[in-house]
């Protein structure tokens, strides 16, 4: 089975982590667009569609939660995964309420990331199959 490459929008204000994550994801065969601010990410989303937005929670100006809220309204099909270096209970609950796909507390392992991406892929496939069946 050929691993379907996902189109991933990566948003993190930490440039080093952004580069490394993008590289790792690209090595796995995904298509990655990396931006370092939420508003840039939202601009890119107008231009192209993404299967997954991997966004950092705590960023200057627009936070990951704000972005999640915007994506939920405009692109309900895009899965959003929030990464955070410091998860508070409130932000976690809020993210869940907004329909976050997953929540990755930093530092996470490459295996965790891959498992999460696999699940996104599976969901997308299942969704497509469901649509096809209907």
């Amino acid at each position: 089975m050929v691993k379907p490459g996902l189109r991933v929008l990566l948003v993190d204000d930490d440039k080093s982590l952004l580069d490394i994550l993008a590289t790792l994801l690209e090595l796995d065969g995904h298509t990655v667009v990396k931006v370092s601010a939420a508003h840039q990410g939202l601009l890119r989303m107008r231009e192209e569609t993404f299967d997954l937005t991997l966004v950092d929670l705590k960023m200057p100006r627009t936070t990951g939660l704000d972005m999640l809220r915007a994506i939920r309204e405009e692109y309900p099909d895009t899965k959003v995964v929030i990464m955070t270096a410091y998860a508070s209970v409130n932000s976690t609950v809020e993210a869940m309420r907004l329909g976050v796909f997953d929540y990755l507390p930093k530092p996470f392992k490459l295996a965790d990331l891959r498992r999460m991406l696999e699940r996104v892929g599976e969901e997308i496939q299942a969704g497509a199959a469901g649509e096809g069946a209907a």
Binding site: L17, L27, A85, Y86, S88, P105, P107
Partner: protein, 515 residues
């Protein structure tokens, strides 16, 4: 995020200054007026007495001069009547030496010279005048010559109405009556004044014994209390108001000591809580900054690991990944302090929490050769709390004990109910904890382990968790091991299934952490 507890202000100081010794002791305050009164009375009496003495009537002096003259006349009378000049002279010569008598002599009824102390006395004009007055009058005449000196002329005769046989002439000095009066009064004043002074001193002694000494004892006790010695008591058994005063003072000190101990204890607790809260705040701030680079490092290493085939390089990469994970764990544990207060409370089974905690440490215990024996005798085991936090606390205690028994040993855990509260007693067979360390084991960052082996936060976290649950944790130790006793209030309610809070992604301290 919990609001930071109000900053701890130092206990208000009640004392406004040390007790100074009194400027004037009470006994002197009593003595000085008494002495003053006595002296005033003394002086007043002396002055008034002397004034009175000066006003002693002159007649009395005349009379005394007359009496003296009469006293002189009588022994002379026989000799004068019998014209016995030899006897007369002898008698007069005998008196001539008396200091009170001057110009002593006897003249004829006419005033012609007759016999004197030192030969025949010829009366001068002055005497003649007095003599004339005596001849015309009752036979006696006197005149004051100066202060307390009189010139006296006295008729000498056989009987009051008999013809005059001769006249006695004499210059007489009488004693100053003031002197005798004054000395009499002075004596009286001295005696009475002395008595009063003695009484005053007696009063001083009495006041000293009855008032000053008990007050002194009370003051000493107060000074000691002021210096912080709450064991000080005023021991007064005089049976009067002072004893009552001392008793209420002692009671007050007891209450102050009690309140003080309470405040000290509360302060310590507050300080500890503040310390923990500030660790939490620090951790929250630092976590974000640390976790990002740690994530980058570990992910990079993992990325390299994918394609790396050299065993040495794989070992290096493995080390990088492992240690990055450790940093991540440390930060998570620090965050545990800050986030502990947010999870919802639910009724949970203490037995279950203990079993889970035991499961968590089993592997480490087996590795260290430690037997962990859990014995729960709780008939009621429901507590209201955060199950994950309680579990973490128990794991920390067990982990501590296991680490203390690296060469093997036994950890007995007994859970039982006492007076409606759950007690969990962790007793190990390790080397024990020294007395000085016992007081500090619950302080944050206190550790006896090697650098890198722990932060010294595990038991501090336990303390914080237990306090938050209305419980307590204490530590005892001897050479045969250490005992940690956890005390928690039991709840009446039935256990609820894991709450929503527990269902949220749990990013707090992992169960196998070591702090």
């Amino acid at each position: 995020m919990a609001p930071p507890p109000p900053s701890l202000s130092p206990a208000p100081s009640i004392s406004s200054g040390r007790l100074r010794p009194p400027r004037l002791s009470i006994q002197w305050k009593i003595l000085i007026p008494v002495v003053g009164i006595v002296l005033t009375a003394f002086l007043g009496y002396a002055v008034v007495g002397l004034r009175t003495a000066e006003r002693i009537p002159l007649e009395r002096n005349y009379r005394s001069a007359g009496l003296l003259a009469a006293a002189l006349e009588r022994p002379l009378r026989a000799a004068v009547l019998h014209h016995d000049e030899a006897a007369l002279h002898a008698r007069l010569a005998e008196w001539a030496d008396l200091p009170q008598l001057k110009t002593l002599g006897v003249v004829r009824p006419t005033g012609a010279p007759w016999v004197g102390a030192h030969g025949p006395l010829k009366p001068d004009a002055d005497f003649m005048e007095l003599l004339k007055r005596a001849q015309e009058g009752p036979g006696t005449a006197a005149r004051a010559e100066g202060p307390w000196r009189y010139r006296v002329v006295k008729a000498i005769r056989a009987a009051p109405n008999a013809p005059v046989a001769g006249y006695l002439l004499a210059d007489v000095s009488v004693a100053d009556p003031r002197q005798s009066i004054t000395s009499e009064r002075a004596q009286w004043l001295l005696v009475s004044g002395g008595t009063l002074l003695l009484l005053a001193f007696a009063l001083v002694v009495v006041v000293h014994v009855l008032v000053s000494r008990p007050l002194e004892a009370l003051t000493t006790a107060m000074s000691r209390v002021e210096a912080g010695d709450y064991a000080a008591r005023a021991d007064i058994t005089s049976g009067d108001e002072l004893e009552r005063l001392s008793r209420s003072f002692n009671r007050m000190v007891e209450e102050v000591a009690h309140a003080n101990a309470e405040v000290t204890r509360a302060n310590e607790q507050l300080l500890r809580t503040e310390k923990l809260a500030s660790i939490g705040l620090l951790a929250a701030g630092v976590a974000h900054e640390i976790n990002n680079p740690v994530a980058t490092i570990s992910m990079s290493a993992e990325g390299l690991m994918e394609t790396e085939t050299s065993p040495e390089r794989r070992r290096f990469l493995h080390a990088i990944i492992e240690e990055s994970e450790r940093i991540g764990r440390i930060v998570k544990n620090l965050l545990g302090f800050e986030r502990g207060g947010h999870n919802a409370y639910a009724v949970c089974s203490l037995t279950e929490v203990l079993r889970h905690a035991e499961d968590d440490v089993r592997r480490d215990a087996n590795q260290a050769g430690v037997i962990v024996a859990l014995d729960t005798r709780l008939r009621r085991d429901r507590v209201l709390g955060q199950a994950d936090q309680l579990r973490q606390a128990f794991v920390n205690i067990m982990d501590n004990a296991i680490r203390a028994m690296e060469g093997g040993g036994r950890l007995d855990i007994l859970a039982e109910e006492r007076d409606g509260r759950a007690f969990v007693i962790f007793r190990d067979t390790g080397p024990g904890i020294s007395r000085e360390h016992q007081a500090r084991v619950f302080d944050p960052f206190f550790t006896t382990r090697e650098v890198g082996e722990g932060f010294g936060l595990g038991l501090a976290a336990c303390y914080e968790i237990m306090k938050r649950h209305g419980g307590d944790i204490s530590c005892e130790s001897d050479s045969e091991g250490a005992t940690f006793t956890v005390e928690l209030p039991l709840s009446e309610g039935a256990a609820t299934p894991p709450s929503l809070a527990e269902a949220t992604p749990n990013v707090s301290a992992g169960p196998t952490s070591s702090l």
